[in-house]
């Protein structure tokens, strides 16, 4: 009797838990889904009173699929494509694509490369060598990992002000990249160390016995094995820099050097009544990061668990 009942109870509980999970996900996805819907409305439908969820109502029918007035006006106003004699036949004249996205691509890629190299080097050293002060240094780096940007931003701003006045050749872009480097490096050192710990030392030792130099063993044996981990660090840093707002907003003096999240914030002020334009800008700026995450989610989860949880 009990044996007969238990599988059906299992099915029921599985159904129940799947149901709860789907409900939670529907709620969690709702803000994003609504933003997508808003981004495809046209101006008239975003300033209706009372607001309508879907721009699909007619005089007689509150919801009619055939009558939906979908528009890409919001995207057009963000991108502002302009005919030109370039390869594609048009160029994107919107400020977002002309100024802010190129800025952020520069900051994010240079920072991510720098963090990957530096974290790879020190993570390797912490994983493979035992030297005096090692434990203390690692604990110090772990402590710094937790320090948020907010409490240091004043001093960094003031450093920028002083350096700008000094004869020292100061460059806002370099300054911002160095700040990003310092803020995203500590976590990555720990992640890198964790990844190197999982690569067996025997591999390197075998290469050393075969006559390779330590650097050669590092280049030809350890690095290829560590590549997935280093890729995870690169992507995580790239996404972090892309999403960063405060330092980009406050530490850079001229607007045309500021990164993309400032661009979005600026955009909000300029288009506060054009909801479809803001929504389209949000979607356009979030989409690349979501795509990176979906393709590399295993690496992200691995890096996060490696860096934050392992007790």
């Amino acid at each position: 009797m009990a044996r007969l009942r238990s599988p059906s109870r299992k099915t029921w509980s599985s159904l129940l838990f799947n149901g709860i999970m789907i409900l939670i996900l529907l709620v969690a996805m709702a803000p994003i889904a609504l933003t997508v819907v808003i981004s495809f409305k046209d101006q008239q439908d975003t300033i209706r009173k009372p607001p309508v969820l879907f721009p699909c109502d007619t005089a007689t029918d509150p919801f009619d699929w055939g009558a939906c007035r979908w528009a890409v006006e919001g995207y057009e106003r963000v991108l502002a494509p302009e005919p030109s004699d370039s390869l594609l036949g048009f160029r994107l004249a919107g400020k977002m694509f002309r100024i802010y996205i190129p800025n952020t691509l520069l900051y994010a890629s240079v920072t991510a490369v720098g963090v990957t190299i530096l974290a790879g080097m020190s993570g390797f050293a912490f994983s493979r060598y035992r030297f005096r002060g090692r434990g203390l240094l690692m604990a110090a780096i772990l402590a710094i990992t937790g320090v948020p940007l907010l409490t240091n931003i004043l001093a960094l701003y003031q450093m920028g002000v002083i350096l700008r006045k000094s004869p020292f050749p100061f460059n806002d872009r370099v300054f911002l990249i160095v700040v990003y480097l310092g803020f995203f490096l500590p976590l990555s050192v720990w992640i890198a160390k964790g990844f190197f710990d999982t690569i067996p030392r025997d591999l390197e030792e075998a290469a050393l016995i075969d006559g390779a130099s330590p650097i050669g063993a590092l280049r030809h044996v350890t690095m290829p094995a560590a590549l997935p981990g280093l890729t995870a660090i690169f992507l995580l840093t790239f996404v972090n820099v892309w999403n960063e707002f405060l330092a980009g907003y406050l530490l850079v003096s001229r607007n045309e050097l500021k990164p993309v999240m400032f661009g979005l914030y600026d955009f909000l002020g300029a288009n506060i009544i054009n909801l479809q334009v803001i929504a389209a800008a949000c979607i356009l700026l979030a989409l690349p990061m979501v795509v990176i995450f979906l393709f590399a989610r295993r690496a992200f989860f691995m890096a996060m668990v490696e860096g934050a949880v392992k007790g």
Binding site: S14, F17, N18, I20, M21, I24, L25, A28, P31, I32, L34, T46, I47, K49, L53, L118, S122, A125, F126, L137, M138, L142, A143, G146, V147, P148, L149, L150, T151, N152, L154, A155, Q158, M159, V178, G182, L185, S213, V239, N243, E244, F245, L250, M261, L264, L268, L275, I278, C282, L285, A286, M289, F293, L294, R297, V305, A308, V309, K310, G311
Partner: protein, 314 residues
């Protein structure tokens, strides 16, 4: 022969210093961007910028901060925000982690979808939530503005004034904007906490819960006496990380409420920004930064104790 010996000696000396050279660049960057600014903040907190330059003022900056009612109010708002944010995120995170740890067919898919809010920038997430409740035109404004649901005149989150406080000046009950801010922040913080707790749950051997079940313990008893005690350290780490993020995250306040309506979402992190960049009282802002930093350091130290750093550095 002598030459090879010398070369070997030289190379062994190089490799003795190799770990140092590998770590040195990291240390230099961290000294410039993390350590020096932290010390500089201490110096700034004891000075104020006057027309003639920086003047030493001792502890005056702290005295001036404590003297303003806006600071006391911000502390209250921060406390209310942190309690709401931490409680909601931890409970929801635990529930979702429990469900996902049952190895449902689609657990991986659920976790991936759930993580999308986390990948969005805080400022972008704030804008997304703001779009939904923009007065009159936001999609949710229509529902919330219904006088039948929220008498007498319906609710407009971004403009509704603060309910009168229950306890003296303490900003409780929170304004609708604060509740909305808490929900938005929890929405973004949930995935990470879920992942943290899920990883902890998966370390509990199934024999433990299985044998308890055979001994007659029901689901609630297992949760109360086995699961929660076993993952308690991770719960506390999650709690500290939520507090750290909640106290220092300013992007969402920026884009969602801008501290308003009035000052009902004016939290400490936002107070720091306004002190520094709208009132240009840099010394006072530095003093506030120092106070926040002290709390941060306590949270970090607690986390490090719990995650047993000495074992991890092995």
């Amino acid at each position: 022969m002598a030459q090879t010996l010398r070369r070997r000696k030289k190379s062994s000396r190089t490799y003795k210093w190799l770990p140092f050279w590998l770590i040195a660049p990291t240390i230099v960057v961290l000294l410039i961007v993390q350590v020096y600014p932290a010390l500089y903040t201490v110096w700034l907190s004891a000075h104020e910028r006057e027309p003639q330059g920086w003047v030493a003022v001792g502890f005056d900056n702290f005295r001036r901060i404590f003297g303003t009612s806006l600071f006391r109010e911000s502390v209250g708002h921060t406390v209310v925000f942190l309690i709401g944010y931490v409680v909601i995120t931890l409970i929801l995170g635990y529930v979702v982690a429990q469900i996902l740890s049952r190895k449902l067919l689609l657990s991986g898919f659920y976790l991936t979808l759930l993580f999308i809010p986390w990948i969005l920038a805080d400022i972008l997430a704030g804008i997304v939530f703001r779009l939904l409740v923009i007065p009159d035109y936001g999609v949710l404004s229509g529902i919330l503005g219904d006088p039948n649901l929220f008498p007498p005149r319906g609710l407009s989150i971004l403009t509704a004034s603060r309910p009168s406080p229950w306890i003296g000046e303490f900003p409780f009950p929170p304004s609708p904007a604060m509740i909305y801010l808490i929900l938005a922040a929890a929405w973004r913080g949930l995935p990470f906490i879920t992942l943290l707790l899920l990883a902890a749950l998966q370390t509990i051997p199934s024999e433990v819960t299985e044998s308890a079940r055979i001994d007659g313990a029901d689901g609630w008893k297992i949760t109360r006496h086995i699961t929660v005690p076993l993952i308690l350290p991770t719960m506390v780490v999650a709690l500290f990380s939520l507090m750290l993020g909640g106290m220092n995250g300013v992007g969402m306040v920026f884009s969602l409420t801008g501290g308003g309506p009035g000052t009902t979402t004016h939290v400490l992190s936002y107070h720091l920004y306004t002190l520094g960049w709208t009132r240009l009282r840099f010394g006072q802002a530095a003093a506030l930064a120092l106070m926040i930093a002290v709390v941060n350091w306590l949270l970090i130290a607690g986390t490090m104790r719990l995650t047993r750093v000495d074992e991890r550095t092995a």
